[in-house]
């Protein structure tokens, strides 16, 4: 891990994105365990360096599409944690007025084109976002986040091939956290690196360390450059770990069954992206310890305020059911 080619303000920017995601997700996990959140919740803890590294390499005009595990992507793209938290509570003040929920947060104003609960469902839409940039001769790049499990959906294949055929400015970011629900990736495919599939579409496929935000930033920046130059899509596979379960409360599903061993959990812990970056920033004296603490407490404070605001927000009015329909 090194940041020789990366400006310090970018380093700090990435650090803050990661920290903001972490504190948000920790709060969400707690709220869920307390029974305060409806629906399903899939946390991004352990994978933050991917969203942060990718989004730091994008402009506000570039767009992203996300998954059921989407909170981290929204925050990394600059989403408002107040409106996110309110959405998780299903409140009128949420990003989608309570109509979307955890798996369907969007912020079109910042190029966050929506989280999608259907595994693999976002890839074709991201291709369309890239197509619109290509069509309009804009400089925009479209990024799609998806998991190792999604890489086995037909939509993955069709989307990469379509984007490649039309040389669209799309970056496919596969977050290989080694599992689709409880199924190890290696039980669902007969290859080690999903990046190897890129060759089947005639596009570059790269493996990157998902715990190293700098590496993610670098490969994304290169892919962005390629995309803006009209050279077409790139597949980036970020090897990462989810620290928690597939969904919060999965213990109930598991009912005592296990699907991960301790060595793996230890590895995930050692490769925690926040820990690594925190150590890096401290050791390299990029920010003094007290400023790091202030940053953290500010973010923690903001999250707490978001929770408080969400809790105190009204439920959506029933009439809102008949709004946001046909124009």
């Amino acid at each position: 891990m090194h940041h020789q080619d990366i400006a310090v303000d970018v380093v700090l920017d990435i650090y803050q994105r990661i920290l903001r995601i972490r504190r948000f997700e920790e709060a969400v996990g707690l709220l869920f365990r307390q029974g305060q959140l409806p629906g399903f919740v899939h946390l991004y803890i352990g994978e933050e360096a991917v969203a942060a590294g990718v989004c730091a390499a994008l402009t506000d005009e570039d767009t992203i599409i996300s998954t059921h595990r989407g909170h981290g992507h929204v925050i990394a793209k600059g989403g408002d944690i107040k409106r996110m938290m309110a959405e998780l509570f299903g409140k009128a003040t949420g990003y989608c007025k309570g109509k979307g929920g955890s798996m369907h947060i969007a912020d079109f104003d910042i190029g966050m084109l929506g989280a999608i609960g259907i595994v693999g469902g976002g890839l074709p839409i991201a291709v369309g976002a890239g197509l619109s940039a290509w069509y309009s001769n804009s400089n925009r790049v479209s990024v799609c986040f998806f998991g190792d499990g999604a890489a086995n959906e037909g939509s993955f294949h069709e989307s990469l091939n379509l984007a490649s055929t039309l040389a669209l400015p799309v970056i496919f970011v596969c977050e290989n956290n080694q599992y689709g629900e409880f199924t190890p990736a290696q039980n669902a495919m007969n290859i080690t690196d999903i990046a190897d599939r890129a060759a089947g579409y005639g596009i570059p496929g790269l493996v990157a360390d998902g715990a190293d935000a700098f590496e993610i930033y670098r490969v994304t920046a290169a892919a962005v450059e390629r995309a803006r130059a009209g050279a077409g899509p790139t597949l980036i596979e970020a090897k990462t770990h989810r620290r928690g379960g597939h969904a919060e409360g999965e213990e109930a599903f598991l009912a005592g069954q296990t699907y991960r061993d301790e060595a793996e959990t230890a590895e995930a812990q050692a490769k925690d992206p926040l820990l690594l970056l925190h150590n890096y920033v401290s050791e390299n004296k990029i920010l003094p310890a007290n400023q790091l603490e202030t940053l953290d407490s500010n973010i923690t404070q903001a999250v707490a305020e978001a929770v408080e605001a969400a809790r105190n927000s009204p439920d959506p009015a029933l009439e809102s059911l008949f709004e946001d329909l046909w124009l």
Partner: protein
């Protein structure tokens, strides 16, 4: 006014709208050469960026249409046969129809999907099913199925200008049909039925190719002294309940004719709506005339027997007239 074929009218609608609005573009398998001739010639005029041949990848192509639509374009995605929409079903049901609502009104999806619907060319089950009923069930997907060149042009133009997802269904069997198409620009609003034939004795409600079946039956019935009112819905979602209910209020008898498998069909929807809304005016039970409830056979003789025919419509009308 010139008499034009359905295919020519659709071609005109596409070309006119693409001329009018640079955000409108067309993509699909072989739209350049035009497997269905309605897209033919557009490539010559508009070039490869606005008439895009795609790989055979229905799910991604439909989804790319959605992605382009939420990013300010107005895509027309040709998926060829209605049954190929099955491969894109997820994108349509889960995304296209829901996105605007699901994201709290942050976006909208001005997408037109095109496909040929139903049977008639003896192509076997995989190419001959009617699919409109599936999309009628999905909230916030508009569905149109015009039966004449004139309506086809006017409704397709409305669909392209519509800010919401619209499924435009056409029929190979109508491709060569002709009608008078105005020279001047015109639009036909989505959601308005056309009363093809006035009549006082029974209301026949239908859409698409079976409009002609119904009209044929009405002619025969007229010779017997039964005057059928034939309503061509043209739009399936939203549909013109007012026109249908007004007609039934007048005739007191209702026959739904729908090329589709019977259960949960458009005919079921219309019949249930009529039975619910104008029960007191009904002189006889509502009747449905649909496909037989079996997969689509290849043999022309069998295919014909599966589809609603004039004789079936006449029998249903006789049944409703005989009721007392």
């Amino acid at each position: 006014m010139a008499r034009k074929t359905y295919v020519a009218a659709i071609q005109e609608a596409l070309a006119e709208e693409m001329r009018r609005d640079p955000r409108v573009f067309l993509m699909g398998e072989d739209v350049r050469i035009g497997v269905f001739p309605s897209t033919r010639g557009l490539h010559a005029e508009f070039g490869g960026k606005r008439v895009i041949d795609t790989p055979i990848s229905e799910l991604a192509v439909a989804g790319a249409g959605i992605g382009a639509a939420v990013n300010g374009l107005r895509p027309i995605v040709d998926l060829m046969f209605g049954t190929f929409l099955y491969l894109a079903f997820d994108q349509i049901a889960n995304q296209a129809g829901a996105m605007r609502f699901m994201y709290g009104g942050q976006t909208n999806v001005p997408l037109v999907l095109m496909a040929q619907n139903g049977a008639g060319s003896s192509a076997g089950h995989h190419h001959s099913q009617a699919v409109h009923q599936f999309f009628m069930n999905m909230p916030q997907i508009k569905v149109i199925m015009p039966s004449t060149p004139t309506d086809g042009k006017g409704l397709l133009k409305s669909a392209i200008r519509d800010d919401n997802p619209v499924l435009f269904l056409h029929s190979l069997s109508l491709g060569g049909k002709r009608s008078d198409v105005p020279e001047n620009e015109y639009l036909i609003p989505i959601g308005e039925a056309d009363i093809k034939r006035a009549g006082s004795d029974v209301t026949i409600c239908t859409v698409g190719p079976t409009v002609y079946t119904a009209l044929g039956a009405a002619k025969t019935l007229s010779r017997e002294g039964i005057e059928a009112e034939v309503i061509d819905l043209r739009s399936l979602s939203p549909w013109d309940k007012g026109a249908v209910l007004d007609s039934v209020a007048k005739t007191g008898r209702f026959v739904a004719v729908d090329e589709s498998f019977p259960s949960c069909s458009a005919a079921s929807e219309w019949a249930a709506t009529v039975a619910e809304a104008v029960f007191s005016q009904l002189k006889a039970p509502v009747q449905r005339v649909t496909n037989k409830d079996v997969p689509m056979p290849f043999s022309p003789a069998l295919e014909k027997a599966v589809l609603p025919g004039e004789a079936d419509v006449i029998a249903a009308v006789h049944k409703t007239m005989a009721y007392s």
